[in-house]
Symmetry: C2
Subunit: 396 residues, 2 copies
Amino acid sequence: MISEKMIKLAQNNSAIRAMFEEGNQMAALYGRENVYDFSLGNPNFPAPAAVKKAVTDIISSEDSVFVHGYMSNAGFESTREAVALSLNKRFGTAFGIGNIIMSVGAAGGLNVVLKTLLNPGDEVVTFSPYFVEYGNYVRNYDGVLVAVEPNLKDFQPDPDMLSSCITAKTKAVIINSPNNPTGVVYSADSIRKIAAVLEAKQKEYGTSIFIISDEPYRELAYDGVDVPYLTKFYKNTIVCYSWSKSLSLPGERIGYIVVPSEADEFRLVFDAACIATRVSGFVNAPSLQQLVVARCVNEMTDVNAYDNNRQLLYKGLTDSGFTCIYPQGAFYMWMKTPADDKEFSNAAKKFNILVVPGASFGCPGYVRIAYCVAKKTIERSLPSFKKLAEEYGLKS
Amino acid sequence: MISEKMIKLAQNNSAIRAMFEEGNQMAALYGRENVYDFSLGNPNFPAPAAVKKAVTDIISSEDSVFVHGYMSNAGFESTREAVALSLNKRFGTAFGIGNIIMSVGAAGGLNVVLKTLLNPGDEVVTFSPYFVEYGNYVRNYDGVLVAVEPNLKDFQPDPDMLSSCITAKTKAVIINSPNNPTGVVYSADSIRKIAAVLEAKQKEYGTSIFIISDEPYRELAYDGVDVPYLTKFYKNTIVCYSWSKSLSLPGERIGYIVVPSEADEFRLVFDAACIATRVSGFVNAPSLQQLVVARCVNEMTDVNAYDNNRQLLYKGLTDSGFTCIYPQGAFYMWMKTPADDKEFSNAAKKFNILVVPGASFGCPGYVRIAYCVAKKTIERSLPSFKKLAEEYGLKS
């Protein structure tokens, strides 16, 4: 009766979201403090004080009709200018407001970009493990997601494996660095090699292949690691950003798209993306939050707190005998499982620990542990992780 | 290169939105007060004071992680409960939180519902004249929009004309009352007849045919006219609501979907709509605004001000010799044009008057005049309308 695509999706609902609901149920049963819910990338840290101040100032001093009203589908010009200036200052780019479209988070931005680019049957490549929704987003526009096999050595993208996945139908490659779920930051060297592969393939096929840089974790990087700005490496790069993590505003659905002027058919791509924003039903990014981020464009969440969590959790897990990728960015720990990852994540539930099986990211044999939680949650969870390790015969 | 669907759309961009941009250009040239921009449904009245108070209270008293954080894709339970209770109180319905999904405005809601329902080739019927985006929304899911010929007598929906448009492929009928662009409110008698047609057709074809009630203008009704609540007339009704007009929050993208428990395959439709909210990239309705509307669910914009505009404009236009439908709802005047509607709307620009040709709504020979503007704008525009009437030989 209803959409067959949606029936399939309803039967095969997101494991992550299901776990979110399960976590809430467990919290009701055992008390929130006794559930170690590492399942969702829902920042547990408050937005910076500047956000509260911005909301208060805007609401008390600006005209209601302006604050809550329509604007161009691309967003308020003042916000787009603030974004462009901030990027230019930080990354030496030369964007203007004509390169920026405000989006309903990165999820909204990715959908707008994919709707803009894809014809049915077009292929979109990404590196395993990858954010499970990419597949849904690509299928929304009858595209085909092609997942590059994971590079189990260090989870850096492998240019040769990428090359073997590119065909004449490849319209885009989604890159997510700092990476969800591995926490790996793609190095400048990796990016340069990816760019070289795509340049060569564009020539070989006479096509345009876009990099879609999904970068909600851009500012969450540790140990001073460099997170390369991709438009500087490859001109057909479209950036999708979100303040969900950097300002702890995931529920507000506020982000932006960057289309650089040097991209192929820039004018058409930019205009089509504005129209896609409208016809997809987003219309525009939420207006008040657009004004808030314009004032907070140089603000940041407490990265040190995430860093402390990262070190505490990494030490605790490895001390218990687990093997993890030491994450350089984002707020995820990517841990090898001593058994099937689904079985392991079920076993973890007995200890009130919620983690997401790697299979959900196209990479079995691992689990993702989201450490965007209170430090106390990590501290309290470590003895349970230890018991879990012991159950699998791991040695501390 | 890019999506062929989007190239077509970019070439044939929304006349309304184009006029919005044109209005801004004219305002820069002649001064905002000398441009009579009736092109867009962008409320010129501020949000009720309760909205400002709600934002301030929430931001100062609630926890940032809660206010700006993720919640279930369907939205905060507290908000969904407030919506259900308000509907039940006002319309004698019996909704619970399990019937409500918060949406990114009505545009987001309509897209979620159409994504949930449509298979490629499915038909969606609506009555001309209609909001031009319906066609885009339906085509997003490879459906076909079927427009019932306008009933030029009084613009009430004609059940016989509807009946002749229903086929075995009809999945839904979009009803928009109070209507954009005519301002007509569909009577209980009209709704009863539509319901009877659809009941009969469901039996004839053995299908489920949904009414999608797009009702952002529900509360904007004048002269005490009754706006029937459609779920009470037809069980397969899905409601898409927005606070864009009733609370003057169009830029905030906040609304809801109602799926009544008695709808066919309720469980599947509701769950699929939650998933569609997620995979379409909306993820959830903006969180702060969800909390705001929960506190303002019984607040209203200044309907009297719209009513005053309505009467002032109707009198002015008819005094100049124009023929208009006397609107019972929404904030649009639907005016017969003394010449081709596109030619007429171009002629109007010479007098700095911006109105949208009826052809944009599938009904040539009329223009839509959005009177959600300052009263002064109407007052100042009337002499120009008079001159325009004279140019076409109309007699006052």
